[in-house]
């Protein structure tokens, strides 16, 4: 039961931003899938005779203090950065939707409890809570995923709660109920499909933020541990060499991180234009 079907007008020109975003997205997925195999050097292989070399034809992005090839490391890092972001967004989307649907459908005390919990999460500055959770859980990919997922949860849960609540007594829901369909099926098969477009837009916009959050956590030494190549760690490594002029160590990983975030922001914008024209 979908309320409206929007199809793009025929022959519409592809927005250059959308094309750019699609290209970045494709590169990221390729980098994550094939990067570790394709890169010219071992991302964790050290070579002290070649430490802190500036960019050259051999080392495109130069080498870091341990002589590791920054290009290889930056590409290999795509995997872990993308993976944490995807897992975190998927977790908040899934758990947030479940909580929101439960609260919106049942109302009453369930709603009150869920809403209070969400309010409490929202009472923290997001990154501060993420730091607290990641610090408490210890250094692992899992703790970064969980920290990012928890601070994001309220955005999904609130949206789903409001929409389910609004549709609870809609005509088609009444009809389904009269037809003897159970509440779980009504919510999952009759109400949720209507929420998918805005949720997809939200997730995509959220991906960039999740990557920034994960990179920020590892920048301050939480979560993912060196020598694992990760953009935030690589930028942190490079920070010590700015004063002596070795600019390439922090610049390239930072630029790739920025490009990835920008790519997801543009994909989100494009998706919103297509799927959710009311808010475009």
């Amino acid at each position: 039961m979908v309320e409206r079907v929007t199809s793009p007008p025929a022959g519409r020109r592809v927005n250059p931003r959308t094309a750019g975003a699609a290209a970045i997205g494709l590169l990221l997925v390729l980098g994550a899938a094939l990067g570790p195999v394709l890169v010219p050097f071992d991302p964790v292989g050290t070579d002290t005779s070649a430490s802190l070399n500036p960019p050259s034809w051999v080392h495109w992005f130069g080498t870091d203090q341990l002589g590791r090839d920054i290009f290889s490391r930056a590409i290999a890092a795509t995997q872990i950065d993308l993976l944490t972001a995807v897992l975190a967004v998927a977790a908040s989307l899934l758990i947030g939707s479940l909580l929101g649907a439960l609260a919106g459908w049942r109302g009453g005390w369930v709603d009150a409890v869920v809403s209070r919990v969400l309010d409490t999460i929202m009472a923290f500055p997001l990154f501060v809570l993420a730091v607290g959770i990641a610090a408490a859980l210890g250094n692992s990919v899992f703790s970064v995923v969980l920290a990012t997922a928890v601070v994001n949860l309220p955005f999904y849960a609130r949206q789903v709660r409001a929409e389910v609540n609004r549709r609870r007594n809609a005509g088609y829901v009444e009809a389904a109920r009269l037809a003897g369909i159970g509440p779980v099926t009504i919510v999952a098969a009759h109400i949720m499909p209507n929420l998918l477009p805005p949720l997809m837009v939200q997730s995509s916009l959220n991906m960039g933020w999740a990557i920034l959050n994960a990179a920020g956590l590892s920048f301050i030494g939480l979560g993912i541990r060196p020598p694992q190549p990760e953009w935030g760690i690589m930028v942190a490594d490079g920070a010590s060499y700015i004063i002596s002029g070795e600019w390439w160590v922090f610049t390239f990983p930072g630029l790739i991180l920025m490009l990835a975030v920008l790519g997801f922001a543009f994909v989100g914008d494009a998706l919103r234009d297509r799927l959710d024209p009311r808010r475009a």
């Binding site: 009472a123 990154f127 607290g132 960039g208 920020g216 920048f219 930028v235």
Partner: protein, 337 residues
């Protein structure tokens, strides 16, 4: 009015209680045995058991929570293993540095955001509108810590215009005495203009770093509300009555956009409290964010917990202030719990 304010104050209580519960849960998430952790690496089974009893970890979760709340009520946030000081006094000593940085960044973001947004609304599709869009996109995608390092590289290393990113004031100046803790104010109170200039120079880069990504949301909100207001009937009437352009814009049209902009400023402030952690690390800023980072690196959990609690409390207070300001700006606003 007073009644409204009291009601709003009371409505902030559940948030505070929630915040305290969450920070309590966070300590219980600590990996492994917290007693072994707090007893240190050289602990024997006996000393671990002793620490466990000392920390009250052998009692029920509820009893422990009650103790935790009692300690909080006495301002006891535990001791920092690294500095050996009570966490509370460490935090209090470092708070002014963080606040000075954050407030300067907030002012900068608000002024430039409102300016850009209003400029963009006056001529949608114009140059200012384009700049507004670019700054928003950049602020959204630019990792705070990367921007900070980039600015240090360009303005300190290459151009040599900025001072070394090492704290609040270069050592060649005499440190102002802590009157307010805000060195911009303290140096002026002491009449030390040279040191004031030094403080300003030291502040510029971190403030720009922290402020840049706040500009986007504020500018977008100012732009959207201004476009709406400019199309409204009272503005048309004011124009038709022949009022000067500046008066229509800054007196009549400006006031209705204050509310939505103020709410966005509150949201931006929350982001800034988080981003502070990263910016302070980049610029060697001796605030509570850098304190939290150092504690993370030393696996010292009590300061991190105190930091999270203090930040959340600050955020609750700021939200309260913004609501109060909202009532003062727009008497139609009624608190809805």
């Amino acid at each position: 009015m007073t009644k409204l304010l009291l009601r709003r104050l009371l409505s902030a209580l559940p948030s505070l209680v929630g915040v305290i519960i969450v920070t309590f849960i966070l300590t219980r998430l600590l990996p492994g045995d917290p007693a072994a952790y707090f007893a240190g690496p050289t602990a024997t089974p006996d000393s671990i058991a002793q620490v466990r009893h000392q920390l009250g970890l052998d009692r029920s979760a509820f009893e422990q929570f009650v103790t935790y709340v009692e300690q909080l009520a006495h301002g006891d946030l535990g001791n920092s293993l690294t500095s050996g000081q009570p966490v509370l006094s460490d935090l209090v000593a470092r708070l002014p540095a963080s606040l000075e940085l954050t407030l300067c960044a907030l002012v900068m973001a608000t002024l430039s955001g409102v300016g850009l947004g209003v400029g963009a609304a006056l001529q949608p599709g114009g140059v200012v509108d384009w700049i507004c869009g670019m700054v928003s996109a950049l602020g959204q995608a630019m990792p705070t810590f990367f921007l900070g390092l980039l600015l240090v590289f360009v303005f300190y290393f290459l151009a040599g215009w900025a001072p070394a990113p090492l704290g609040r004031l270069d050592i060649s100046y005499s440190t102002p005495s802590d009157i307010t803790g805000f060195w911009l104010v303290d140096t002026l109170l002491e009449g030390d203009l040279e040191a004031f200039g030094g403080v300003v120079r030291q502040l510029i880069l971190p403030v720009v770093t922290l402020g840049l990504f706040g500009i986007g949301p504020i500018a977008r909100m100012a732009r959207a509300s201004m476009i709406e207001v400019l199309n409204s009937e009272f503005v048309r009437t004011a124009r038709a009555a022949g009022l000067p352009r500046w008066k229509v814009l800054w007196v009549y049209a400006f006031r209705p956009i204050l509310m939505p902009v103020l709410n966005t400023v509150g949201m931006v402030f929350s982001f800034m409290l988080g981003a502070n952690v990263l910016v302070e690390k980049v610029f060697g800023w001796p605030g509570i964010g850098a304190y939290a980072v150092d504690s993370v690196l030393a696996s010292d959990f009590a300061p991190i917990q105190g930091f999270v609690l203090l930040m959340a409390a600050l955020y609750v207070v700021i939200n309260l202030l913004i609501d109060v300001l909202g009532v003062l700006l727009d008497p139609r606003v009624k608190f809805d719990g």
